[in-house]
């Protein structure tokens, strides 16, 4: 455990900083999630005139592979950042060392 756990005031301040950083990460990822979910489907038909890779219609590819891949990456980014960076930094690490 991180030092200073018995210090209530310090713990409180530490917690608020922790929560702020957590929120910033969540808002960033949610914004990316929103763009990736809702920005391209309305234009799918127009985008299908563009082809990428070996000739996939762009609109179809964005929904079927790109968005899904980004979703998975978002989950990984959140989990890894929380576990490896933010939790230990403020002493709220979920594991006993």
């Amino acid at each position: 455990m991180a030092e200073g756990r018995h210090d209530v005031g310090d713990r409180r301040a530490r917690f608020e900083a922790y929560w702020k950083e957590n929120q910033r990460l969540i808002y960033t990822l949610t914004a990316i999630w929103f763009v990736v979910s809702f920005a391209h489907p309305p234009f799918a038909k127009a985008l299908n005139n563009v082809t990428i890779l070996t000739g996939f219609p762009l609109g179809y590819w964005l929904s079927s592979q790109f968005s899904i891949t980004v979703f998975v990456i978002l989950i990984f980014v959140y989990a890894i950042r929380m576990n490896r960076v933010i939790d230990p930094k403020y002493g709220f690490h979920d594991e006993e060392e």
Binding site: M1, R11, R12, F15, E16, W19, Q23, I26, L29, T30, W33, V36, S37, F38, P41, P42, F43, A44, K45, A46, N48, T51, L53, T54, G55, F56, P57, G59, Y60, S63, S64, S67, I68, F71, V72, L74, I75, Y78, A79, M82, F92, D94, E95, E96, E97
Partner: protein
């Protein structure tokens, strides 16, 4: 989210008992060994069966029974071995499942009967629009992972209603009620799809009626879940994940090899990529997909595959349900299995699908079965409808298999696609 109730979070953090680091590492090592051996055993088993079928002419009915008995027996054994009456273990697997294995268990949920059967049908039926379901439940999972999952653990709660009530204490009762209703609606629709799938698969394997199949399947669920709760469910699902991912890869690889000459055609992303042995092969994909996207003609494409000009008398009927080569997996039926590269005919309502004039009922049912995704998916569909509304009355030839059957709409053989 406000910061007010977060002091409680701070109070609850690190309150539950955990293993020490050394214990946890030993535990994980043991898990990797066991499930690694299990994965190897599954592959060896499949190869053995394949060898026996090709060389000793092993009967397909026996193969089906072997697969289902061994896998169900295994899940049963894992369920019984994980018998527990400890509260923490029963409801949250003791909060001790390593992330990697928890991910495998969640992945097994993703790939379960609902997606295995209904998703294929939805995509086939809806084309581009069907992607809303895939984006819906994958994108929805992001929200779950950002807003719920970590805090249920950190608050030391067991369920989403528990957590929501704890998180908004000033209106604990009301928020708990809302969360519970959402949970029930979501699980009910999801379980409906699952139980239909379980009933279909069990009845096809054991040759029983659909109703008996449902009870057989549910008996297995009870065996796994009531004995050991979340603990046995999680460890069963990790084993299921290994079986499922292999079971998914085999037909996809075979299809891919047939269409492109390369079992892993994802490698064809650029010309001359590793595995790109046949020049210009990548051009075959866009045509298929363009048809899906633009005019739904993929149904005709698949009808050509499914409905051969020449019926094979040897397979036309009078055989037990087990002797069919479908094994209850729709995708496998697409494999052309005679020398002409044509699929043999299946007098099977699940394949030829119900035919209806309007298609609205079936489409509604598909939507109902996927309600967990509808919240997110509806937004996508609404947005998309502004740009390109799908024409009404497009044929609904293939819905989640079994739905049409249950509705009594099935008349195998009168599918117009098969008139050739």
């Amino acid at each position: 989210m406000s910061t007010a109730p977060m002091s409680e979070l701070a109070a609850d953090i690190n309150t539950h008992v955990r293993m020490t680091k050394v214990q946890r590492q030993a535990f994980e090592k043991k898990l990797y060994w066991r499930y690694g051996l299990f994965a190897v055993a599954v592959v060896v088993f499949i190869l053995t069966i394949m060898f026996l079928e090709l060389n000793a002419g092993l009967n397909r009915g026996i193969i089906a029974i072997l697969f289902i008995l061994l896998s169900f027996g295994l899940y049963g054994i894992i369920g019984v071995l994980n018998f527990t009456r400890k509260f923490d273990e029963y409801y949250v697997a003791g909060r001790s499942v390593p992330a990697f294995f928890n991910g495998m268990a969640t992945g097994a949920d993703w790939m379960s009967a609902a997606s295995f059967i209904s998703m294929a049908g939805s995509l086939w039926l809806l084309g581009y629009d069907g992607l809303a379901y895939i984006m819906g439940w994958t994108g929805g999972y992001v929200l779950l992972a950002l807003f719920f999952a970590p805090y249920i653990r950190k608050f030391g709660q067991f369920t989403i209603p528990d957590f929501v009530a704890h998180r908004f204490p000033e209106r604990g009762g009301a928020s708990r009620l809302v969360a519970a209703i959402c949970g029930i609606v979501t699980s009910f629709t999801y379980v409906t799809a699952q139980v239909v799938g379980v009933g279909l698969i069990m009845s096809r394997f054991f040759g029983t009626s659909y109703e008996v199949g449902v009870f057989l399947g549910l008996a297995g669920v009870v065996l796994c879940s009531f004995l050991g709760g979340m603990k046995s469910i999680t460890w069963t699902q990790v084993a299921q994940y290994i079986v499922l991912i292999i079971a998914y890869l085999i037909p996809v690889s075979i299809l891919s090899a047939r269409f492109t000459g390369n079992p892993f055609s994802e490698l064809h992303v650029w010309p001359g990529a590793p595995g790109d042995h046949r020049p210009g092969i990548g051009a075959e994909y866009p045509e298929c997909i363009r048809r899906t996207v633009h005019d739904g003609a993929v149904e005709r494409l698949l009808a050509d595959q499914l409905c051969p000009a020449r019926p094979d008398p040897a397979r036309a009927g009078g055989e037990s349900r087990l002797d069919r080569d479908s094994l209850g997996v729709p995708g496998l039926d697409l494999l052309p299995d005679d020398r002409n590269g044509r699929a043999t005919p299946h007098p099977d309502p699940l394949l030829h699908g119900p035919r209806s004039e309007g298609g609205a009922d079936e489409r509604g049912l598909v939507a109902l079965l996927h309600l967990p995704a509808v919240l997110h998916g509806a937004g996508l569909r609404g947005l998309r409808a502004m740009g390109d509304a799908p024409e009404p009355g497009r044929s609904a030839d293939f819905v989640a298999p079994g739905v049409g059957e249950q509705l009594g709409r099935t008349r195998p053989g009168d599918d117009p696609r098969c008139e050739q």
